[in-house]
Structure formats: structure tokens, C-alpha cells
Symmetry: C2
């Protein structure tokens, strides 16, 4: 049983790592569309087109289940992909919202890229479940290149994190959804600023748990198999991406292959 995960780039490797850990016996293919990243500032029309390309490619590699590891693609293209492809499709937004609602929060915050926040996908899904929840959202697109370029270690980038999160101070949030796969990397800095008691919802953990539950019910026999293969496919490879992957993941035990999307 092959699971295909796609993301606009390499941030979704956080999701890939969690799913790899949770489902050792499943074969997993990660597709990062690095040649066309980022998605987070582009239009729905373009993101729909790229998302369809990605699922077609993963299906052609025999993936039977798709995970959208990219928040932007999840917010814009999940419904389209579900109607177009008749296979199970999991997305980080549904998983993140489900987790955020677990403890009956009254006030929630969401951070993400411009596209994710402008799509209102998180607000809509939260309010559809419980219209009494107060939702505060804030686009923090600048966090992505700061994390990717390994700049978070430098002291004065803290100021930028703080400036973006200032909006949430005194909002009495019960939880903050990290609506971009890069953000779990700066969890510690977010807590340092907003307070240690704030609950941060990390969609990579949530989508992995949701997927595991689904597979336990529908494919119990697959869990008894031996450890299975993992592959990482990228549509572009550059020194830049290599260095980012090293910065984010310390070490990666998988070969990374270059692949073209037609």
C-alpha cells in the first residue's frame, strides 16, 4: 500500500517524517514541487493546476492514498482534488481543525501564508463546527524564507517573529494553529513570546494521527508487514534546497530524486 504526500516544497517533510514514524510498514512517496514553490503567495487557479499535476504524478506511481502536506494547497484545492480523484485524500487543514476543537476552545488563533489566511479555509471550517468560537487569523508569510534560509538562529529575527505575533497578545487564545508546515520549526520561539501555556496545534502530527486511524480501520493487515520503502522526489534540486534540508532536518536517511512534472 503506497501513500503519496505532496507539498509545494520541503516544509512538508515535517509531515513526511511524522507519517514515516507512525506507519513504518507502508510505502511512502514524498513529492516536493520545489521547481514551482512557493504556493503561498500564488492564486487559487495556479495552485489548483499544480495540485492536480502533483496528484496525477503520485497516482501514476501507484499511490492509493494522498496526503496534502501543504496548507495552501489544502485550503484552496482539497475539494477539487476530492471530486476529481476517486481515492482517499487527507489534508492538513481538516486534521489541524479537528485537533484544535478537541478541548472545546472559546478563542483560537491561526497563522499561515497569505494565501492560506486569505482563503479563510481555517475560519470557515472552525465556524462550521462551532459558530461560537472566536477566531483570530494573521498572515506570517515572511516566516517561511526566514526559516528556510536558516536565519532563525540570529537574534534580531526574533523581533520579526514578535512583531508578527504581537497581534495575538492579550487575545486570551486557547490554542494557536500553526497553519504552515514550516512553523513547527519555530514552536519554541512562539512559546517564548506568547507564553508557555498556549497550546500550539501542529498539523503534521494531527494529519499523521488521522491517517493512522483511517488505515487501522480500513487496512489492518498492512500494519503487520515489514518496514517499507520511503522516497523523496523533488521537481528541482539546488544547493539552496540541499542546505535548507540539512538546516531543518539535521540528517535525512533517504535518497532524494529529481523528477519532472509535465
Amino acid at each position: 500500500m503506497k501513500i503519496g504526500i505532496f507539498d509545494s516544497g520541503i516544509g512538508g517533510l515535517t509531515v513526511f517524517k511524522e507519517i514515516s514514524k507512525a506507519l513504518p510498514s507502508f510505502e511512502i512517496i514524498y513529492l516536493g514541487d520545489t521547481a514551482r514553490l512557493p504556493y503561498g503567495i500564488k492564486s487559487k487557479r495556479t495552485i489548483d493546476r499544480y495540485s492536480i499535476n502533483n496528484v496525477k504524478l503520485l497516482k501514476s506511481l501507484d499511490c492509493k492514498i494522498i496526503v496534502i502536506a501543504c496548507n495552501t494547497a489544502s485550503s484552496y484545492s482539497t475539494n477539487l482534488l476530492k471530486s476529481k480523484f476517486k481515492i482517499p485524500i487527507f489534508d492538513v487543514i481538516s486534521a489541524g481543525v479537528k485537533a484544535a476543537l478537541k478541548d472545546n476552545p472559546k478563542i483560537l488563533g491561526v497563522i499561515g501564508t497569505d494565501s492560506t489566511i486569505n482563503s479563510m479555509a481555517y475560519n470557515k471550517m472552525i465556524l462550521n463546527n462551532n459558530s461560537n468560537i472566536k477566531v483570530y487569523t494573521k498572515a506570517c508569510s515572511i516566516f517561511v524564507p526566514i526559516i528556510e534560509q536558516g536565519l532563525i538562529k540570529k537574534k534580531h529575527y526574533d523581533k520579526i517573529i514578535e512583531e508578527n505575533l504581537k497581534f495575538f497578545k492579550n487575545k486570551n487564545l486557547n490554542g494557536l494553529i500553526l497553519g504552515c508546515t514550516h512553523y513547527p520549526i519555530i514552536k519554541r520561539k512562539i512559546k517564548d513570546y506568547l507564553g508557555d501555556d498556549i497550546s500550539l496545534i501542529d498539523s503534521s502530527l494531527e494529519v499523521s494521527a488521522t491517517l493512522k486511524k483511517y488505515l487501522e480501520i480500513n487496512y489492518p493487515n498492512e500494519f503487520t508487514k515489514r518496514k517499507s520503502k520511503r522516497s523523496i522526489l523533488l521537481t528541482d534540486k539546488s544547493n539552496y534546497f540541499d542546505s535548507v534540508i540539512k538546516k531543518i532536518f539535521n540528517k535525512l536517511d533517504f535518497n532524494i530524486k529529481l523528477i519532472d512534472i509535465k
Copy 2:
């Protein structure tokens, strides 16, 4: 006579503006590959492919002269494009270097994206002309999203500009080449930090002057015509890009059309 200008995105509009001003009687088409931007962190292989796509499209629209307004594409793909397409091709790097060498400098600095700096295109071209010049280069990729997201107005982003330019302090630069079309927008801040007497070489001005000289010699009759048409084509349109264009250009008098690249 149609001139085609391409860039990875909207930064090259600085070049488009200068050329539009310098050559009012020439028809000008600007192509911004916003659906696949940025180029500055991607590989030569991918940038070559995108650059070929862009020139093919501009040629299909009857452009007789091409200007590569993108430093990354200029550094990686100029030679390939010149050998593949038998029409005059101008690039920002040749123009920038020519201008930088005018006053017989001893020490030059270059800033650009990771790809531009890693390509060594500026160093090579400068040293080919005069091997006695000392060249210092520094990748400043983070400037691009900071400028695009309109964050330069905020005080603590100055720290990031300073941190990146610190390397050039006490290097006694005769000139600093702004090797990315976005950078002229922060000229003032660069001078504030490195000193008012430093000469900043702005390729958008230089490529426009080089092109004008070429046309005066080869197409003198074209200068007597009436004001001609300008068009801006983008491969993606989003609220994000609209707001960036407004931030960078105050006002734009041209219609922006969406176009697909096959």
C-alpha cells in the same frame, strides 16, 4: 519594433519602467513568470528551462529583441539563450558590469540572490575584463521577500539589511553592484548604512542605456515614431502580487494580463 523583457516575477518591472521611459516609440512587452517565481533559489537546469519557455513565448508575440531583466536568469542562461535564439539578447549582468568598470574601480562589491552569487557570473565577467580588481560578493536572498512584502518601512528590518551588508564595511568598496532587480528599491537604506559616497550600480538603468545605444545605431528610424504600446503579462495573478506591485510602483498605467506558459 517589439522588445520583449522577461523576469521571474515583478522585480523586473524596474527594468521595464526604465526602458519604457528611454524608448517611448518602441512597443514593449513585459513577461513576469509569477507562477514559477522565485528563480533565485532554484537550479541552473530549471532556470534554463524556464528562460527558454519565456523567450519562446515572447518570440511568438513577435518580439525582435529580448531583455533578460532577471539577474538569476542572466547569470545562468544568457549564453544558452544566445546560442539557441538568433536574435539580440541583452542581460542585466553584462550591462551592470560594464557600468561598474567605467571609473576604473579597484574594489567592487556585488549583492544578489543565492543563485546569482553562487553562479559567480559577476566575478567572472569583472575579472575577465580586469583581473586586478578585487571582488567581494554576498548573497542577500532575504531582501527579496522583505521588499515584496512591503516590510522595509518597518524599523527593525533595517537591522537585517545592516546584518547582511556588515560584510562590506571597511572593505573600501569603489562601487556596489545591485545584482537583483528588487534592490534599487532599498538604495536609500543601503547608502544610509554603507555611506553616502558609495556608488551603487543599478542594472535597470544600465541595461536600458545599453539597449538604447544599440537601437540608435541599428534602428534609428524607429525613434521618430509616435509613442507605442506597453503590455504586462504575468503567468499568475493573485492579491499578493497586486499589492506588491502597488507597494513598489505607487501606480501603474498598464493593464496586466494573465498568460499561460505551456
